[in-house]
């Protein structure tokens, strides 16, 4: 008996020989179980991410084993580590190169708020330059915490409406970061 678990089908109407659901839900299920993360690892949180990707924690269980090192093919930007102010424009450029829909997760105290580096040279949280979907606390967070953050991203992806990215609210959010 195989113990492979398949993803549950989204809620819908089922009958003999047919299954009907909304396009949003079908796409949401597909996307959330096949996210391509782009690791933007600058320091110790990146080391925890390596553990997250390795066999014990194994992010592949969530369909995210395919890391994309090109932002153009990535769905999820994982920022792990201290972002210096000089790195800010680089991070922003990476975000701009990603195609919609795109999600961002800030892993660890530094990416979230600057962490212990309350100083002139460090960005006080990456949400000063790009919008962030999920924040993972910790210094550094354990792999479990990173996985928890990742599962929250999956939840967002699963429930996101197909029209969300063209909503005025979303456009306003991007405009507040000077992104069009």
């Amino acid at each position: 008996m195989s113990d492979i678990q398949l993803v549950e089908a989204p809620p819908g109407v089922e009958g003999a020989g047919f299954f009907a659901t909304t396009l949003d839900k079908a796409i949401g299920v597909a996307r959330s179980n096949s996210l391509w993360p782009l690791p933007f690892a600058t320091s110790c949180c990146g080391i925890e991410f390596m553990a997250t990707m390795a066999s014990t924690y194994d992010l592949a269980r969530f369909g995210a084993e395919r890391l994309s090192f090109s932002p153009r093919q990535a769905d999820l930007l994982m920022v792990m580590g201290t972002i210096a102010k000089k790195m800010g424009p680089v991070l922003r450029q990476v975000y701009l190169q990603m195609a919609e829909p795109r999600w961002v997760i800030a892993v660890g105290a530094c990416a979230t708020s600057g962490g212990i580096f309350d100083t002139y040279s460090v960005l006080q949280g990456i949400d000063e330059v790009i919008p962030v979907d999920v924040y993972v606390p910790g210094c550094p967070p354990r792999p479990e915490a990173i996985i928890d953050g990742f599962m929250n991203i999956q939840k967002l992806v699963k429930t996101e409406s197909l029209r969300r990215r063209s909503e005025p609210k979303y456009q306003e959010l991007l405009a507040s970061y000077g992104i069009q």
Binding site: K85, K86, S113, D118, Y120, E128
Partner: protein, 167 residues
């Protein structure tokens, strides 16, 4: 230990440049001397090219801000004579509203980036430097962050505001 003692070093330098250098002390055995910006390059050049001393290595060139002193900005040169295994520290004190000092690039090319760093963090102006612009901080920074009047904490920080802690 080096083959040249600090006493010997003081004697040689003050014979060559009478009245232009003063001894500040020897903390941890490191001879520290003070001079003026009018003489610093001449002295560095002589220290490097003297047949006996041969201070051929510029270990470091940096600055220090002493806000309580009358001459608040110090430019510090660390020299190392690899041949004699002897080190020497030279300081030049400048007034904070007139932080000009000639560049040491004619003596050591290595001074180029070190002077850019001292400019970047302390705003010391090295006259004659071919490319005096910021080297480590963001290009559009306006302050000189290692001067003591620069606030230690970043003003954009929001999670340490008093109201989060009932203050």
């Amino acid at each position: 230990m080096g083959t040249i003692t600090n006493e010997d070093l003081i004697k040689r330098i003050s014979t060559q440049f009478p009245g232009q250098v003063t001894v500040l002390g020897e903390p941890y055995g490191l001879l520290t001397m003070e001079t003026t910006r009018e003489h610093i390059i001449e002295i560095l050049d002589w220290l490097k090219n003297d047949a006996v001393l041969q201070f051929i290595f510029l270990t470091d060139l940096t600055a220090i801000h002493y806000p309580d002193q009358e001459k608040a900005m110090a430019v510090v040169y660390h020299l190392h004579s690899l041949v004699n295994n002897v080190r020497l520290r030279l300081k030049v004190f400048l007034a904070i509203d007139d932080v000009h000092i000639p560049t040491a690039i004619p003596v050591w090319d290595a001074a180029n980036w070190m002077e850019r760093e001292a400019y970047d963090f302390f705003g010391v102006l090295f006259d004659g430097h071919p490319d005096l612009r910021r080297i480590l901080n963001v290009d559009d920074m306006e302050a000189f962050p290692l001067r003591k009047e620069h606030p230690l904490e970043d003003p954009n920080r929001v999670d340490k505001k008093d109201y989060f802690f009932g203050r």
